[in-house]
């Protein structure tokens, strides 16, 4: 009898220990998130004190004179992500429609997998391929065409370098397509079949069902997917660093070299010798992190409703 009681005691203790350890690591995630913000804030404090709000709206980035204005980088990040979203969203919706409504069952799997593999290619490979293969292609064929035919818009002026805001945005679009399309696909799959069938019953064509029933039903999920893509695009670093041209000059043309927050960090962080230079770069990182945090949190809140309700124990 005593032995059984002893064993029971030991098991109770082991249970307590195991639960404690696993809770600790769960808590670690929260602590880590807090720590990220706190450490970045502490490290950027000197720059925040020295430049104040001028850091955000000044365009003068000159490490030699210790003058740091982040507007070109912030502007670059926003415009770049906007370009990527404008290109990626329609294509992603198209892919999701193809995968859920159009493709025969047999090719759904392989096509879906191929699109998702795009997400597994490392960012640096996109950047390198972009610089060595895609940029020469753009500067030889696409950009001269844009300049010639759309040069009346200030957006498409300049020399066809193959690197700059538009090329970087395009590569970025390809990189975020798999993320956006896979969320949209999941959301489309949550549309009750009964709704679609009543559409078909009324004699609607497939396109009309998608346009009038599936997309309106999935609207907030699609928004969430788009915002997730935006969150991804904002922080993407290596591909952008290769493609954007790294110039702190603010230019309205999408074909001119520019910079983004992430590219500035990748290029200059190891070169920053002064404390204030480093601190300014960390502040850039803090701004980037804060923006992406808000964007990703929004996206999560919007897609939560569509999370597949996996029943426990039905596997």
């Amino acid at each position: 009898m005593m032995r059984i009681l002893d064993r029971h005691k030991r098991d109770r203790f082991a249970d307590f220990l195991f639960k404690g350890v696993s809770s600790f690591f769960a808590l670690l995630i929260i602590v880590l998130m807090l720590f990220l913000f706190v450490v970045l804030a502490i490290e950027s404090a000197p720059a925040i004190k020295a430049f104040g709000f001028k850091f955000i709206y000044s365009t003068d980035w000159n490490p030699v004179r210790a003058s740091f204005g982040a507007l070109p980088a912030i502007y670059g990040t926003i415009v770049l992500s906007a370009i990527a979203i404008v290109i990626a969203v329609p294509v992603s919706i198209g892919i999701a429609v193809f995968l859920t409504e159009m493709a025969p069952k047999k090719i759904r799997g392989p096509v879906g997998a191929a699109i998702e593999l795009l997400a597994s290619i490392p960012s640096i490979i996109y950047g390198m391929w972009g610089l060595f293969v895609f940029a020469p292609f753009l500067s030889a064929y696409v950009e001269p065409f844009l300049i010639e035919n759309f040069g009346f818009l200030p957006l498409f002026r300049g020399t066809p370098l193959g690197i700059g805001m538009l090329p970087a945005g395009f590569i970025l679009a390809i990189m975020i397509i798999p993320f956006i399309s896979s969320v949209i696909r999941d959301v489309f799959l949550m549309v009750p079949p009964m709704l679609k069938e009543s559409g078909y019953g009324m004699g609607a064509t497939k396109f009309e069902v998608i346009w009038n029933i599936v997309i309106p039903f999935a609207r907030s999920g699609i928004m969430g997917a788009v915002i997730l893509g935006l969150g991804r695009a904002l922080g993407e670093t290596m591909a952008v660093t290769f493609m954007i041209g790294n110039s702190h000059d603010l230019s309205i043309s999408l074909l001119d070299p520019a910079t983004s927050i992430s590219a500035t960090l990748a290029n200059e962080f190891t070169e920053a010798v002064d404390d204030i230079y480093l601190s300014g770069l960390v502040e850039l990182g803090l701004i980037l992190f804060a923006i992406t945090f808000v964007v990703l949190a929004l996206s999560k809140l919007m897609t939560m409703r569509f999370a597949p309700q996996k029943g426990r124990g039905k596997a």
């Binding site: 696993s22 450490v39 490392p122 960012s123 060595f132």
Partner: protein
Amino acid sequence: MSKRYLMRRVFNCAALSGSLLCAVFGIFFLFWILKDVFSSGIGAMDMAFFTELPSPPGVAGGGLANAIWGTVLITGMATVIGVPAGILAGTYLSEYGRKKRFASVVRFLCDILVSAPSIVIGIFVYAVLVKPFKGFSAVAGALALAIIMLPVVVRTAEEMLKLVPDATREAALALGAPHWKVTLQVVYRGAFRGIITGVMLAVARISGETAPLLFTSFNNAFWNSNITEPTASLTVTIFNYAMGPYDDWHAKAWGGAFIITFTVLFINILSRLLLRGRTGS
């Protein structure tokens, strides 16, 4: 056939062809990139590439052996730190937390951390490990990668553990097994394949990371096994070589890209095959 009906048919057809084109667009770029990485990278593959140190620019020969070793070392250390922590946190979410408020906060933050910019993680590790100890190191790089893989492992571990039916847990508990034993010997066993796959995917993801290594493990032109010293990695080497002006550097960079891309791709496809029919997707 009325004109209006015809218009609807035409419109329908155009829209659906559009969606087909979108899928083709995605696949086209996948193969375009893979084709170039393959054809430009295969040329750099020889014995020297895997066994020798980099040669000075302009001097033929040499390899990236130190960078390959560095990537293996840093990724390995990151896995050792990140995977146990991730699996345990995932265990909490699936076995203890379930619908508690605390658990949903952890899930929420994990999902944000998965997509957070990896370069910011690099800055964070720089601030806590590199700056105070006055030096880049492999440990710092490994910590950065571990933080990046942690949320991925947590979420997949939870998903996989959740797939084990509650009835199985109850059966084991009814036999008098304590909760921890049920988790270790019944639930883990049931979810083993899924968790391994998740870990493989997380390793694949971090082995291609560059940004967080730029200012944590930095770079090194020589062999290094001291984990407190700057260490070369394939990705950072690719970055430096591709940005450099020499043709033989570019060739080496393509070689590195070849190894990274096809390793990552191989792991991804393998894990897909392993998981087939397990999660219903």
